[in-house]
C-alpha cells in the first residue's frame, strides 16, 4: 500500500488534510459500520512556501445557498465561458475578468495541482495587528523583571504599525493610556466588580465619539481615527513611552498580609481587555496576551480565595464537588471567551507559577479563540522566554506566523454532511444544506470562527455520509469537500485560502478491501483521540474511557488511556487543561507524539534507534531520549551515569563516550528548536528524581509484582499498579472474543 501512503503524504503536504478514510463507503449504513467516522485533520494555514497567493478574488458559485468557489474539480465550458459548480451543479458565467480563459490559458484555481489556492482580497481597509498586553503585577520581583524584559523585547519584534495596549492588574486593574506626554495616565478599575462591556466602555470614555482627542492639533494621519487611540497606539509612536512604562512597572503595591495570597483580579482584567477591544476594534484581528503569575483571587473569575490555608482545587475536590469557585469562574471566562471570539479577538494565556493558576477555568479563553496557552514555572525561565519569543517568529516571507479572525467554511457534495469540528474554534451557527443533524465536536454549523491561528493550528473535522443505501453512487463517482478559510494575514491583508479535495466512493460490500486499504491509521487515531478528549472535557473520565474502549481497539489506545488527556490522576486540573489544549490544536505528527511518546535509545552498539516505550527499554548502558511533546527527557542508564560521574568523558581516550553523551543533547536541541510551546527539558539519570517523567510513561512491563517472574532480565522495574500492555492486550483479546462488540 505504498501508493496510499504516498497519496496520503502528498495530500497532506499540498492541502494540509488527512482523512481517516481515503476511499469513502458509499452509504450511511456502511459508514456507520466502519466505527471510525469519516473525518479529517485539517491544518488550514499549513505553510506552503511554494504556493504564491493570487492577487485576485475567488469566483463564487452564484447560487446563494452554495457560493462554492471555482476549483479544479469544476467542469468548465471554455467556449461558453461557463463553469458548473461541482457541489450544487449550478452553471455559472465567468466574470468579465476571465474573458480570455481557454484550455491553454487557465487560471490557477482550475489547475489540478492547485487544489489549494490562496487569494488576497484587495478591497476593504487593512487593519493593523493589535496586541493588548494584560500583565499581572502580583509577581516576585525577579519574575516581574524578567517578564518586563520579555515584554520590552517583544516590542522590538512587532511591526512598527502594529497597535499595542497595556493593561496591568493586581488588586486593581489599570488600563494605561499610551499617548500622554509628561505624565503617565491610566484608568483604574476595582478588581472585585464585574462590569458589563457597556460600563467598561463608558468608564474608559470610549462610548462618546464627541470626546475630542485632538480638537485643536491637526489630526494626525492615522488609519484609525478611532477614539481608542488613547489606549491602543501604533508601536512606532509610543515605543519609548511604552518601554519606559514597562520599565517603571512596579509590583502591586498593596500589602499582602501573612498567610494570604496577593489579590489578583485576573477576571476583571480580562473582562476589561475584552471590553476595550470590543468597543474599539470589533471584528478586527487582535491578540490579548494575558500574563499571570498565580490564580485569580478576587472578583469575578476568582478561582481560589486569598487564604493560603485553603489550597486551590484539585481533581479530588472537583470530583467531590468541592471546588466552590470553579463553576462561577468557568462561566465568567466562557462568557469572555465567547465575546472575544464573536469579535474576532484571540486570547493567549501565559501562566508561570509553581502552583496552579486557574487554567482549568480559563482554558476556554484560549480554546475558543485560538489563543496560545503556555504554562511554566516562572517567567524567569528560558521555557517562557523562548516560547514567548517564538510567538513572534516569522516565516520565509518575513511575516508573523500568525493569522487572525479566521472563518472556516466547509462545503460538501451532496452525499456528505459536516457533523462538527474539534479544535480552537467556535461555531458561527451557520446552518446550511451541508450541515448534519448529528454532532461530533462543535457541530450544527458549516462555519467556524478561529480567532487566532498559526501554520500548525489543526482542526479535526467530522463528516457524516448521508447517501442512502438504496441510492447507489455511480461508479467512479467522487465526493468533494471544499474548505474555505477567510483570515487576516499577519501582513494585515485579508486572504482566503481554498482547499478542495475529492475522494472516491466505494461500495463497502464489494470493495471493502479498497476502503480498508485507504484507512489512515494515524489520522484515525488522532481523530478518535480528539473525540475522546472532547468528550473528556465535558463528561466523566470513566465514561469516556468506556466509550473509547467500545469504539476501537488499537495499540495506541493503551497509551492514550494512560495519557494525561484522559487520565487526570497525577495531574492538576490546570495541567490537564493545558495538555488537552495543545492536543486539540496540534497537527497529526505532534498529536501522535503526545499520544505515544517517542523513545530513542543511544548506545555504543550502533546508531540511535527508536525503541519500545516499555520498561524493558530502560537499560543500564543506554542513554534514552524521550519526547512527549511537553517534555524532552534525557535519561542516562545506570552504567552510563556512573561513567559520567567518574569523568570518563573528559578523558581523551574516551572521546567516543563524550560523543555518546552529546548525541542525545544535540537531537534534543533540534526538537526544542522547532517546538511550540517550548517543552520542559529534563536531563536525568538512573535513580534521579526526575526520572519519574520517563518511568511514568513507559509501559510497565516489569513491575515490582512480576519482576522476579521475568527473571534477571534487563530493564527497570516500575513501581506501579497499572496494568502493563501485555495484561491489557490479554484482556482485550478476551473481550474481543467474548463480547459481541
Amino acid at each position: 500500500m505504498a501508493t496510499y501512503l504516498e497519496f496520503i503524504q502528498q495530500n497532506e503536504e499540498r492541502d494540509g488534510v488527512r482523512f481517516s478514510w481515503n476511499v469513502w463507503p458509499s452509504s450511511r449504513l456502511e459508514a456507520t459500520r466502519m466505527v471510525v467516522p469519516l473525518a479529517c485533520i485539517l491544518t488550514p494555514l499549513k505553510e506552503r512556501p511554494d504556493l504564491p497567493p493570487v492577487q485576485y478574488e475567488p469566483v463564487l458559485c452564484s447560487r446563494p445557498t452554495c457560493k462554492a468557489i471555482l476549483n479544479p474539480l469544476c467542469q468548465v465550458d471554455y467556449r461558453a465561458k461557463l463553469w458548473a459548480c461541482n457541489f450544487c451543479f449550478q452553471r455559472n458565467q465567468f466574470p468579465p475578468a476571465y474573458a480570455g480563459i481557454s484550455e491553454v490559458n487557465q487560471p490557477a484555481e482550475l489547475m489540478p495541482q492547485f487544489s489549494t489556492v490562496e487569494y488576497v482580497i484587495q478591497r476593504g481597509a487593512q487593519s493593523p495587528l493589535i496586541f493588548l498586553y494584560v500583565v499581572d503585577t502580583c509577581l516576585e520581583e525577579d519574575d516581574l523583571q524578567a517578564l518586563k524584559e520579555s515584554l520590552q523585547m517583544s516590542l522590538s519584534l512587532l511591526p512598527p504599525d502594529a497597535m499595542v495596549g497595556l493593561i496591568t492588574f493586581g488588586r486593581m486593574v489599570q488600563v494605561h493610556e499610551l499617548s500622554c506626554e509628561g505624565i503617565s495616565k491610566s484608568y483604574v478599575f476595582r478588581g472585585t466588580k464585574d462590569l458589563t462591556a457597556k460600563q467598561i466602555q463608558d468608564m474608559l470614555g470610549l462610548t462618546k465619539p464627541a470626546m475630542p482627542v485632538h480638537p485643536v492639533r491637526p489630526a494626525q494621519p492615522q488609519e484609525h481615527p478611532s477614539i481608542s487611540s488613547r489606549f491602543l497606539q501604533p508601536i512606532h509612536k509610543i515605543d519609548m513611552n511604552l518601554t519606559d512604562l514597562l520599565g517603571e512597572l512596579q509590583r502591586d503595591p498593596w500589602p499582602v498580609p501573612q498567610g494570604k495570597r496577593p489579590l489578583r483580579s485576573t477576571g476583571v482584567a480580562l473582562s476589561i481587555a475584552v471590553g476595550l477591544l470590543e468597543g474599539t476594534f470589533p471584528n478586527t484581528g487582535a491578540r490579548i496576551m494575558l500574563f499571570i503569575g498565580g490564580p485569580p483571587t478576587q472578583g469575578p473569575g476568582m478561582v481560589v480565595g486569598d487564604e493560603l490555608k485553603v489550597p486551590i482545587r484539585s481533581w479530588h475536590d472537583i470530583e467531590k464537588d468541592n471546588a466552590r469557585f470553579m463553576k462561577k469562574a468557568t462561566k465568567h471566562y466562557e462568557m469572555l471567551a465567547n465575546r472575544a471570539a464573536a469579535n474576532g479577538h484571540c486570547v493567549d494565556i501565559y501562566a508561570c507559577a509553581l502552583d496552579q493558576t486557574g487554567l482549568l477555568e480559563m482554558k476556554c479563553c484560549t480554546n475558543l479563540t485560538g489563543g496560545h496557552m503556555v504554562m511554566g514555572d516562572s517567567f524567569n525561565t528560558s521555557l517562557f522566554k523562548q516560547t514567548f519569543q517564538r510567538i513572534f517568529s516569522k516565516d520565509f516571507n518575513g511575516n508573523f506566523r500568525m493569522a487572525f479572525g479566521a472563518t472556516l467554511e466547509v462545503k460538501t457534495s451532496r452525499e456528505l454532511k459536516v457533523a462538527g469540528a474539534i479544535g480552537p474554534c467556535v461555531s458561527l451557527n451557520v446552518k446550511g444544506p451541508c450541515v448534519s443533524e448529528n454532532e461530533l465536536g462543535v457541530g450544527g454549523t458549516s462555519q467556524w470562527k478561529i480567532c487566532g491561528l498559526d501554520p500548525t493550528s489543526t482542526l479535526g473535522i467530522y463528516f457524516e455520509i448521508v447517501n442512502q443505501h438504496n441510492a447507489p453512487i455511480p461508479q467512479g463517482g467522487r465526493g468533494a469537500i471544499q474548505f474555505v478559510t477567510h483570515y487576516q494575514h499577519s501582513s494585515t491583508q485579508r486572504r482566503i485560502r481554498v482547499t478542495t479535495i475529492a475522494r472516491n466512493w466505494a461500495d463497502a460490500q464489494s470493495q471493502l478491501k479498497h476502503i480498508e486499504a485507504a484507512f489512515d491509521q494515524e489520522a484515525a487515531a488522532v481523530l478518535m483521540a480528539r473525540l475522546g478528549v472532547f468528550r473528556a472535557e465535558s463528561e466523566e473520565g470513566p465514561d469516556v474511557l468506556r466509550w473509547l474502549d467500545r469504539q476501537l481497539i488499537r495499540l495506541f489506545m493503551f497509551h492514550l488511556r494512560r495519557s494525561p488527556f484522559l487520565q487526570v490522576f497525577n495531574n492538576s486540573p490546570d495541567e490537564s487543561s493545558y495538555y488537552r489544549h495543545h492536543f486539540a490544536r496540534q497537527d497529526l505528527t505532534q498529536s501522535l507524539i503526545m499520544i505515544q511518546p517517542i523513545l530513542y535509545s543511544y548506545s555504543f552498539h550502533g546508531p540511535p534507534e527508536p525503541v519500545l516505550l516499555d520498561s524493558s527499554s530502560i537499560l543500564a548502558d543506554r542513554i534514552l531520549l524521550m519526547d512527549t511533546f511537553f517534555q524532552i527527557v534525557i535519561y542516562l542508564g545506570e552504567t552510563i551515569a556512573q561513567w559520567q560521574k567518574a569523568g570518563y568523558q573528559d578523558m581523551p581516550e574516551y572521546e567516543n563516550f563524550k560523543h555518546l553523551l552529546q548525541a542525545p543533547l544535540d537531537d534534543a536541541q533540534e526538537i526544542l528548536h522547532a517546538r511550540f510551546p517550548m517543552p520542559r527539558y529534563v536531563s536525568t539519570e538512573h535513580g534521579g528524581s526526575q526520572a519519574r517523567f520517563l518511568l511514568s510513561k513507559v509501559n510497565p512491563s516489569q513491575t515490582h509484582n512480576n519482576l522476579y517472574a521475568w527473571g534477571q532480565e534487563t530493564g527497570a522495574p516500575i513501581l506501579t499498579d497499572d496494568v502493563s500492555l501485555q495484561v491489557f492486550m490479554d484482556h482485550l483479546k478476551k473481550l474481543a472474543v467474548s463480547s459481541a462488540c
Binding site: S184, V188, F189, R190, A210, P215, E248, P253
Partner: protein
C-alpha cells in the same frame, strides 16, 4: 417703646411726617444745607449748627467728650459724683473684678448719655455748648419722655403697635419717612421743654427716664431719691449703682469717655433731633439701667416717672412724634465703645469665679488664673439660676460658646502641654473628669474629691504631694493642671483609635477640572498657588519646657519644623484622577477611576507623599494639570464619590486628614450623591421652605458619618456660576468640622486675591483631627444640646473629624438638679485630638460659674453677644424643621419672655408703658432684630437659595465675635481719617464706628462697612474732590468705577491710611473680605443698604425702632 405704644401717636404721626421732613432736612441736610428747618427747631437748629460745624458726627463728638468732663465737674454734687464715678467706673472696670462694676461701666456710657441730660445736664450742655444746649438736650429728653408718656397714655396696647404699622406704611418710601418723620416733632417739643428742664435739672435724670419726667416732681422725686441714694442714681438709669462701683475706681480721665459717650448721642446733630424720641429711648435705657442697677428700688422711682409719662399723654400729643429717637435707643456702637474704653486697658484675670469678661469687640489680654480664657469659652450668663424653675422663668438660655482651639494673640501663651507618662492624665474614677484646679485634695493630699461628681479618689503615689496650710497642694503652681484654666495632656495609647498612636495627618487636594473650572482660570490659578503654598503646611512642634516630679513633663508649642503633613492630589470631573507623585518617579502618574458608583482608591504607595521629598514630581504635576485639561469639554461633575475617594484614601493610609475640595457645579453626573436642580423660590414663606435648607438626599449624611469615623475633615471651596445646592453640598463639611467657602461667579481678576487668601489661611491653619469633645459639668446642670460643625453619634460626645481655631461649638445646658450657690457650677470641656504632627492630645478648658437664687443676679451677668450667638444658631437650625415664620416668632417670643421676666421680677415697678431693659441685655432687641432680618430668616429678592444655605451653615460654627459683627456690621466713617485733628498716618487705630443706618451716612463722607464676610467702601456723592483724587486717583465722583474691588495704590496719606485700615480689618477676620466700592445712589447701593441693619430692610425686615416698639408690645402683653 412707649412711644410706639402711644395710641395718640397715630395722629401725631401724620403730622410728624411733614415735620419729619423738615426735621430730617435740618438734621441731615443740616450740614449740607438745611434750608427748611421748622421754626420750632430753630432753637434746636441752633445747637445743631454748632455741632454740625464739624460735619462728621465724630467730630462733634470729640468736642463734647472734651466738654463732658468739665460738665460733670460743673454739675451738682450728686451728678458730679455720679459722673465721676462713672468715669472711674469705666476706668476701673478693667481692674475691678466685680462683674457688676464692669457691667455698669459698659452700661454707663449709655446711661451717661441719658444721665447727661438729667443729672449733668449742665455738663452735657456744656460740652455742646452753653446752657442752651443743655436746655435743648433736656428738652429733647423731655420730648422723648413725653412721647414716652404719650405712649403710656394710649397705653401700651395697640398703640405701640399701631405706630409701627402706621410707620411702616408711612415709611413705605423708605427709611425715614415714618419714623423719622416723627422725630422732628419730637424734637420740637423737646425744645420747648428744655427750658422747663433747666429748672428741674436735678430731677432731670428722672426726667429723662420718665420721660417726661416731665413732671419734674414725680420723676424728679423718685429719681432723686434713687439717684441720691447711690451716687448711681445720678446715672440713674444707667445702672448707676453698678456703674458706680466701677466708676469709683475709675480715674477722672475715664470720666471723660463717659462724657463723650454721653455727648456722643447728643453730639451728633441728628441725635438731638431724635432726642425727642429719646425719652422713649431713655426709658429703655433706664430700663436697662434699672436692671443693671443694683437698686431696683431706684428704678421703681423712675418708673413712676414713667407712669407719670403715661399720664402725660397730653404733652405727647402736642409732641406728636412718637417715634423713638434713634439716638435715644440703645446703641451698639456706644456699648462697644464704652466697653472698649472701660475694659480694654487692663488684662482680664480669670481667677475669680463667674466674672463676665469684656465684650468680644474689646481688645484685652487674658491672664489665666484657673478659668479658661473667654477666647475659649464664653457663656450667655456667668451666673446661673440655682433651680430649673428660675431658669424656666427667666427663659435666658444657658449656653456656652466654646472654641477649644482658639488662636490666641501673640502676647498670650498657648496652653502648656503636660505629659503624665504612661499612666496618662489623672481623672476622676467615676465621672472621668480630668484633673483641674477645682479638684479638692483631702486627707493630707492622699485623696482628692472630684469637683464635678464629688467622688473621692485616691491620688496615685507618683502624683502625691503634700498640702499647705490652706489645703492646697504645695506644687499647685508648678502644675498647669492645678493652677490654670486651660492646658493640655499628652494622651497615652489608650486614647488612640485601635490602640495605636496615630500617624501624621494628610491633606488631599481635590480639584474640579470640568469645563467651568478650566474656563474661569481657577485650575491654573490654584495649581500655581499650590506650588508655593505646600511649603507652608502647618507644623505643630512642641518643646520641652520643664520636668516636674516623676514622668511629668511640660511642653509648649514651639518653633516650626518641617511639616509632618503628607499631601495627595486628585482631579475630577465625571471621573476621578488620582496622582502618584512618589519621589522616585521621573514623572507623575495619573490614575483615572471611572467607577464613580463604587469609589475606591487605586493606589496606596505614592498617593500621599512628603512635600519636600516629592517636590519635583509635585511641581511637575501642578504644571501639567492645567495643560492636560485645557481642552476639556466635560461639564458634568460628581461630588459624593470625590469625598468618598478622599476618605477611602485616608482610610487606606490609616491616618486622619483633610480634604480640600474645589468644586464648581451642581453634581449632575450619574453617580451616588447625584443632585438635581431644585431651587424653587416659590417655596419661600411656605411650609416647605425648610426643604431648601435640607439636603436633597441622605447619602451625604451617611458619607459624612464614614468620614467622621475616619477623621476625614472636608473643606469645600465652591465656585458656582449658578445654583449648586449648597444645602446639600455643605452637609459633609458641616458634619466633619470643615469649612465651606463660596465664590459665586468666580473670575480670576476679581476674586483671585480673596480665594488665594482664604486658601492660604485654610491650608496653613492649625487643625486638630479625629477629635472628640466632651463637656462635663458639675452636678445640677447638664449639657443637652450642641450647635456647630460636627457629628454626634450619641448624646454626649461631639465628634469632630477636624477642628480648627475658627470653629466654635455652642453648648446648651439645662438643669437636672439644684445648683448650690456656694459651690457654683463648673464646666470642663475636654477635647481629645490628633495634632498636625500626629500627636494625640487632650485639651482641657475649665470654667467656674456663679449660681444665684435671685433673678437679678442672672440678668446682671449675662452677655448679649453670646446670647445672640446662641439664639442665631438655634434659629438657624430651626429652619431645617420648621417654617421660617415659626422660627422667627419663637425667637421674638423668647426674647420677649426674657425681658418680661426681667421687668416683672427685677425691675422696679413702673408704668407698663415703659420699656425697661436689663443693662446687660439692652442690645438684645437690636441684635435680635438683625438676626430676624438676616438672609436666612428673611430673604430679600436678590438673595439666592444657595446664599441662604451658605450663610446658615457659616453661622453654625461662628464664634461670638463673628456673629456680633455679622449681624450688626461695622460702619466706619473714613474721611475723618484725613480731616481729623490727628495726622492720619500717626493715627493708626480704627475710626470709631457709627450705627448701621442710612441716616448716619453723610454724602460728604466715605465709609467702610464690614460684617466679617463683606467689605464695602461707600462713597458719598458730594465727597470732596481731593479725597476722591487721593483715594481713587480719578478726578471726580462720577469717574469712580462702581464695584471696584481694589483701591489703587497711591502715594498719599489718605490712600495709605485707608488701605492700611482695610488690611487691618481683613486681618481681624477668618475669611478674606473682598472689597466692593459702592457709590451713593448707585445700583450697588441697594446691596449696601442691605447691611444697614438698623433701617427697615427691603425684604420687609423691621427697622430697629419699629422692632423695639414691637418688642415692647410683646413684653407688655406678656406682663398683662
Amino acid at each position: 417703646m412707649n412711644l410706639n405704644q402711644s395710641a395718640p401717636p397715630v395722629p401725631p404721626f401724620g403730622q410728624p411726617q411733614p415735620a419729619y421732613l423738615g426735621h430730617h432736612q435740618s438734621s441731615y441736610g443740616g450740614q449740607p444745607g438745611s434750608t427748611t428747618a421748622p421754626t420750632s427747631y430753630g432753637a434746636y437748629n441752633g445747637p445743631v449748627p454748632g455741632y454740625q460745624q464739624t460735619p462728621p458726627p465724630g467730630v462733634s463728638r470729640a468736642p463734647p467728650s472734651s466738654g463732658a468732663p468739665p460738665a460733670s465737674t460743673a454739675q451738682g454734687p450728686c451728678g458730679q459724683t455720679a459722673y465721676g464715678q462713672f468715669g472711674q467706673g469705666d476706668v476701673q472696670n478693667g481692674p475691678s473684678s466685680t462683674v457688676q462694676m464692669q457691667r455698669l461701666p459698659g452700661y454707663q456710657p449709655f446711661g451717661s448719655a441719658i444721665l447727661a441730660p438729667v443729672v449733668s445736664q449742665p455738663a452735657v450742655l456744656q460740652p455742646y455748648g452753653p446752657p442752651p444746649t443743655s436746655a435743648q438736650v433736656t428738652a429733647q429728653l423731655a420730648g422723648m419722655q413725653i412721647s414716652g408718656a404719650v405712649a403710656p397714655a394710649s397705653p401700651p396696647s395697640g398703640l405701640g403697635y399701631g405706630p409701627p404699622t402706621s410707620l411702616a406704611s408711612a415709611s413705605g418710601s423708605f427709611p425715614n419717612s415714618g419714623l423719622y418723620g416723627s422725630y422732628p416733632q419730637g424734637q420740637a417739643p423737646p425744645l420747648g421743654q428744655p427750658q422747663g428742664h433747666p429748672g428741674a435739672q436735678p430731677p432731670q435724670r428722672s426726667v429723662p427716664l420718665q420721660a417726661s419726667s416731665f413732671t419734674p416732681p414725680a420723676s424728679g422725686g423718685p429719681r432723686m431719691p434713687s439717684m441720691t441714694g447711690p451716687l448711681l442714681p445720678g446715672q440713674s438709669f444707667g445702672g448707676p449703682p453698678v456703674s458706680q462701683p466701677n466708676h469709683v475706681s475709675s480715674p477722672a480721665p475715664q470720666v471723660l469717655p463717659p462724657g463723650t459717650q454721653m455727648t456722643g448721642p447728643p453730639g451728633p446733630p441728628p441725635p438731638p433731633m431724635h432726642s425727642s424720641q429719646q425719652p422713649g429711648y431713655q426709658l429703655q435705657q433706664n430700663g436697662s439701667y434699672g436692671p443693671t442697677r443694683g437698686p431696683q428700688s431706684n428704678y421703681g422711682s423712675p418708673y413712676p416717672g414713667a407712669a407719670a409719662f403715661g399720664s402725660q399723654p397730653g404733652p405727647p400729643q402736642p409732641l406728636p412724634p412718637k417715634r423713638l429717637d434713634p439716638d435715644a435707643i440703645p446703641s451698639p456702637i456706644q456699648v462697644i465703645e464704652d466697653d472698649r474704653n472701660n475694659r480694654g486697658s487692663e488684662p482680664f484675670v480669670t481667677g475669680v469665679r463667674g466674672q463676665v469678661p469684656p465684650l468680644v469687640t474689646t481688645n484685652f489680654l487674658v491672664k489665666d488664673q484657673g478659668n479658661a480664657s473667654p477666647r475659649y469659652i464664653r457663656c450667655t450668663s456667668y451666673n446661673i439660676p440655682c433651680t430649673s424653675d428660675m431658669a424656666k422663668q427667666a427663659q435666658v438660655p444657658l449656653a456656652a460658646v466654646i472654641k477649644p482651639l482658639a488662636r490666641l494673640p501673640p502676647e498670650e501663651a498657648s496652653p502648656y502641654v503636660v505629659d503624665h507618662g504612661e499612666s496618662g492624665p489623672l481623672r476622676c474614677n467615676r465621672c472621668k473628669a480630668y484633673m483641674c484646679p477645682f479638684m479638692q485634695f483631702v486627707e493630707g493630699g492622699r485623696r482628692f474629691q472630684c469637683c464635678f461628681c464629688s467622688c473621692i479618689n485616691d491620688v496615685p503615689p507618683q502624683y502625691f504631694q503634700h498640702l499647705d496650710h490652706t489645703g492646697k497642694r504645695v506644687d499647685a503652681y508648678d502644675r498647669p493642671e492645678l493652677s490654670l484654666g486651660s492646658y493640655e495632656f499628652l494622651a497615652t495609647v489608650d486614647y488612640c483609635k485601635n490602640n495605636k498612636f496615630p500617624s501624621p495627618p494628610a491633606f488631599i487636594f481635590m480639584i474640579d477640572v470640568s469645563y467651568n473650572a478650566i474656563r474661569s482660570g481657577l485650575v491654573r490659578l490654584l495649581c500655581e498657588e499650590l506650588k508655593s503654598l505646600l511649603d507652608f503646611l502647618p507644623s505643630w512642634v512642641v518643646e520641652k519646657v520643664a520636668t516636674v516630679g516623676n514622668n511629668v513633663t511640660f511642653y509648649r508649642e514651639g518653633g516650626a519644623e518641617e511639616s509632618a503633613v503628607r499631601v495627595g492630589f486628585v482631579t475630577y470631573n465625571k471621573v476621578l484622577h488620582f496622582y502618584n507623585v512618589k519621589s522616585s518617579l521621573a514623572q507623575p502618574q495619573m490614575m483615572v477611576v471611572s467607577d464613580v458608583g463604587d469609589m475606591f482608591v487605586p493606589l496606596l504607595d505614592g498617593f500621599l507623599v512628603n512635600v519636600n521629598e516629592s517636590q519635583a514630581v509635585i511641581t511637575s504635576l501642578l504644571d501639567q494639570i492645567p495643560e492636560m485639561f485645557a481642552d476639556t469639554r466635560e461639564t458634568e461633575t460628581v461630588f459624593a464619590p470625590v469625598i468618598q475617594a478622599g476618605m477611602e484614601a485616608l482610610k487606606a493610609a490609616e491616618c486622619a486628614g483633610k480634604l480640600f475640595l474645589f468644586h464648581t457645579s451642581l453634581p449632575i453626573a450619574e453617580a451616588p450623591g447625584k443632585l438635581k436642580n431644585r431651587d424653587d423660590r416659590k417655596l419661600i414663606n411656605t411650609d416647605k421652605e425648610k426643604t431648601l435648607f435640607q439636603p436633597q438626599t441622605g447619602a451625604y449624611q451617611t458619607l459624612a458619618k464614614e468620614c467622621v469615623a475616619q477623621g476625614c475633615c472636608v473643606d469645600l471651596f465652591l465656585f458656582p456660576n449658578q445654583y449648586v445646592d449648597v444645602a446639600t453640598l455643605s452637609v459633609v463639611p458641616q458634619l466633619t468640622g470643615g469649612s465651606v467657602y463660596k465664590y459665586a461667579c468666580f473670575q480670576v481678576e476679581n476674586d483671585q486675591e480673596r480665594f488665594l487668601s482664604d486658601l492660604r489661611r485654610d491650608v496653613q491653619k492649625v487643625v486638630g483631627f479625629d477629635a472628640v469633645m466632651r463637656v462635663r459639668t458639675s452636678t445640677g446642670i447638664r449639657a443637652v444640646d450642641f450647635f456647630g460643625a460636627f457629628y454626634m453619634s450619641n448624646t454626649t460626645d461631639v465628634e469632630l473629624a477636624g477642628l480648627d481655631g475658627d470653629k466654635t461649638v455652642t453648648v446648651e445646658f439645662k438643669h437636672d438638679d439644684r445648683l448650690n450657690e456656694e459651690s457654683g457650677a463648673l464646666l470642663q470641656c475636654a477635647l481629645l485630638y490628633t495634632s498636625c504632627a500626629g500627636q494625640r492630645r487632650l485639651r482641657i478648658h475649665n470654667l467656674a460659674l456663679n449660681c444665684c437664687t435671685q433673678l437679678a443676679d442672672l440678668y446682671r451677668n449675662c452677655e448679649t453677644d453670646t446670647l445672640i450667638n446662641y439664639m442665631a444658631k438655634f434659629a438657624y437650625r430651626g429652619v431645617l424643621n420648621s417654617p421660617v415664620k415659626t422660627v422667627r416668632d419663637t425667637l421674638i417670643t423668647q426674647c420677649a419672655q426674657i425681658l418680661a421676666c426681667y421687668r416683672k421680677n427685677c425691675a422696679s415697678p413702673s408704668s407698663a408703658g415703659q420699656l425697661i431693659l436689663p443693662e446687660c441685655m439692652k442690645l438684645l432687641p437690636v441684635y435680635l432684630n438683625c438676626v430676624l432680618k438676616s438672609d436666612v430668616l428673611q430673604p430679600g429678592a436678590e438673595v439666592t437659595t444657595d446664599d441662604r444655605a451658605y450663610v446658615r451653615q457659616l453661622v453654625t460654627s461662628m464664634d461670638v465675635a463673628e456673629t456680633n459683627v455679622f449681624f450688626y456690621p461695622r460702619l466706619l466713617p473714613l474721611v475723618r481719617l484725613s480731616a481729623g485733628t490727628k495726622s492720619p498716618i500717626e493715627n493708626t487705630t480704627e475710626p470709631p464706628a457709627v450705627r448701621a443706618s442710612e441716616e448716619r451716612l453723610s454724602n460728604g463722607d466715605i465709609y467702610l462697612l464690614e460684617n466679617g464676610l463683606n467689605l464695602f467702601l461707600w462713597v458719598g456723592a458730594s465727597v470732596q474732590q481731593g479725597v476722591v483724587q487721593s483715594l481713587f486717583g480719578v478726578s471726580s465722583f462720577s469717574q469712580i468705577t462702581s464695584g471696584l474691588s481694589v483701591l489703587p495704590v497711591l502715594d498719599n496719606l489718605l490712600s495709605k491710611k485707608v488701605r492700611g485700615l482695610i488690611d487691618s480689618l481683613r486681618a481681624q477676620r477668618s475669611r478674606y473680605m473682598k472689597l466692593i466700592v459702592v457709590k451713593q445712589e448707585d445700583k450697588l447701593a441697594t446691596l449696601f443698604k442691605h447691611f444697614l441693619v438698623e433701617d427697615k430692610s427691603l425684604s420687609g425686615g423691621a427697622s430697629y425702632v419699629d422692632f423695639l416698639c414691637h418688642m415692647h408690645k410683646e413684653i407688655r402683653q406678656l406682663l398683662s
